[in-house]
């Protein structure tokens, strides 16, 4: 069951990173455009959103990775292997690569601010897209992600 907990935690943190990034972009736009309305007053400060996004991404990505790896391990050990559409594996790896790249750029290359927010949104968008695509094309296999 650990793989489920880790995967859910990972996805939740990625969703949080996505929300923080979206709020960041909106607040950024308002501040740049010198609009001091409701968004300016109610939304959190930019740096705080940036930090939240970074933390969620940096913890969420390894959690999800570990969760998926454990799931694969369990599948191999207890059911004697499993059958998946190679397309699923390819798309899964693609998503993982996008998220991994996002984490690497944030941590390794110290990306911050707007491009980091865009990156994070792209990463979460990829997860969401692949999840939905798999759900539509081959129902019942989405647990793989």
């Amino acid at each position: 069951m650990l793989h489920v907990a880790l995967s859910v935690l990972g996805l939740a943190l990625l969703a949080l990173a996505f929300i923080a990034a979206a709020l960041y972009l909106v607040q950024f736009r308002e501040l740049k455009a010198k609009r001091f309305g409701q968004v300016f007053q109610v939304f959190p400060p930019l740096e705080r959103l940036d930090l939240l996004n970074r933390s969620a991404l940096v913890v969420g990505f390894p959690a999800l990775t570990l969760g998926v790896l454990l799931a694969v391990g369990y599948a191999v050990r207890f059911t004697g292997g499993f059958r998946v559409d190679p397309a699923q594996v390819v798309w899964g790896l693609f998503t993982w690569a996008v998220l991994g790249a996002a984490v690497w750029l944030r941590v390794g290359r110290r990306w911050t601010g707007r491009r980091a927010a865009v990156l994070s949104i792209a990463g979460f968008g990829a997860v969401l897209l692949v999840y939905l695509a798999l759900k539509i094309t081959t129902p019942g296999t989405e647990r793989f992600l």
């Binding site: 400060p45 740096e47 990306w111 911050t112 707007r114």
Partner: protein, 422 residues
């Protein structure tokens, strides 16, 4: 003893700055000025003097006392103009309402500002030895009213002045300002004021750059935190590290140009930079605001933020005034009970005298009583008197709190030929 509350004062609504400046009393002048006024006849006084107001609160003041205040202010004006023309006189409930409104920030130039709360406290403390019980209670309650208005309404919320708006804008970019580094360009008053507000919020000023290094040095010393002073030309490099830049040079054209700072900003690695241009004409080229992660604001923007907060604060005025009204009635109820105290005291004294006289008489007639019996009789007389007086005393206090104490005091005075309460 007269228990009236009188206010003689001048504020930013009634007098121009050059007049208010002359009326302003430094902390060391307050006790002397108060003593001079109290000599004309008053039981207590508190002097509240800030750059926006000079107000004498007096208890038990007569016309001679208020005249003494005007004479003192005439003297400070010093050019033959009568100070009376710039001021106002309020009595009792209106005087109480005024100090409550002042403490709440309702009478401030910047509506709802909180500095006045500290100034009211200081005035009370400076005048403590001369305040007397009524004003002591009045100022104590004024501080509570100020705190109540700030916690129960949004009168103190938002950044309602340009320097406060500068702090609010920086806060929306960086969140916590603690330990952030600021660079000051120019040594204008506005820049120093805004920088001082940022320093209060935890920002460290690392560098002050000015055309004349001596002025830069002076500003840096006043802001503290070990800020360095430099000429303007050496400042551009610091755009790579500072978090906040405040510009207010006296230059006739933009000195902070895209070409001068873009190379340094590029080395920031995407970290945001907040540039506050407080100069008129502006110091920063608009193109600077196009740089990624540079947030550029000028004086108009700060005023827009402040204006918005002011509008929101104005909407809170009715609720704040309602709290003030409630508290004025509250204070006045206490004040009314104060008026019955001397009458009650005298009434009690009179009864006590009767008791001891009658006891003496009984003891003379009953010489055979043992000391224990005399003691018992003495205690009996005391308890009898207390029981007789208990209900009337409570009734008087109750009526006084409800504001109708006057009738009963008058009745008591007539029935027992008391002197007080006239």
């Amino acid at each position: 003893m007269s228990l009236t509350v009188t206010l003689v004062g001048v504020n930013h609504r009634t007098a121009p700055l050059d007049v208010r400046e002359r009326f302003a009393h430094g902390a060391h002048e307050v006790p002397g000025a108060l003593r001079r006024v109290l000599e004309a006849g008053a039981s207590g006084g508190v002097l509240l003097s800030t750059c926006n107001r000079t107000e004498f609160y007096l208890s038990g003041a007569s016309d001679a006392t208020t005249d003494a205040v005007w004479a003192l202010l005439d003297g400070r004006l010093g050019d033959g103009r009568p100070a009376r023309g710039y001021g106002y006189l309020r009595r009792d409930r209106d005087a109480v309402r005024q100090v409550y409104r002042v403490a709440a920030g309702l009478d401030s130039m910047i509506l709802g500002e909180s500095q006045i709360q500290g100034q009211v406290r200081d005035a009370w403390e400076l005048s403590r030895g001369l305040a007397g019980p009524v004003l002591h209670r009045l100022f104590q309650s004024a501080l509570l009213v100020g705190a109540r208005v700030r916690s129960e309404t949004a009168l103190g919320r938002g950044a309602a002045s340009a320097p406060a708006a500068a702090v609010a804008l920086a806060g929306k970019i960086f969140g916590d300002l603690q330990g952030r580094e600021a660079l000051i360009l120019g040594a204008g008053d506005m820049a120093e004021l805004a920088a001082a507000c940022l320093v209060d919020a935890g920002v460290r000023v690392t560098l002050v750059a000015n055309r004349t290094p001596e002025r830069a040095r002076a500003v840096a010393d006043r802001l503290g935190g070990g800020a360095a002073a430099q000429s303007l030309d050496d400042a551009w490099e610091h755009f790579a590290v500072a978090d906040i830049v405040i510009a207010s040079t006296a230059a006739p054209h933009a000195v902070v140009t895209w070409a001068r700072i873009a190379p340094a900003v590029a080395r920031r690695g995407g970290r945001p930079l907040c540039v506050l241009d407080l100069a008129v004409p502006r110091d920063v080229e608009p193109a600077v605001g196009q740089l990624e992660n540079v947030f550029l604001y000028d004086l108009d923007d700060l005023q827009a933020v402040a204006g918005q907060a002011s509008a929101e604060r104005r909407a809170e005025i009715p609720r704040a005034e309602q709290i003030v009204d409630e508290e004025v009635e509250h204070f006045w109820a206490w004040h009314d009970t104060l008026a019955v105290v001397p009458v009650l005291k005298e009434f009690r004294g009179r009864m006590e005298a009767v008791r001891t006289a009658e006891l003496e008489r009984v003891f003379k007639q009953l010489q055979h009583l043992s000391p224990e019996d005399r003691d018992r009789l003495e205690r009996f007389s005391e308890s009898l008197l207390n029981k007789f007086l208990h209900e009337p005393t409570l009734a008087l206090k109750r009526e006084a709190e409800a504001g109708d104490g006057y009738l009963l005091v008058e009745a008591l005075r007539k029935l027992f030929h008391l002197e007080h309460g006239e």
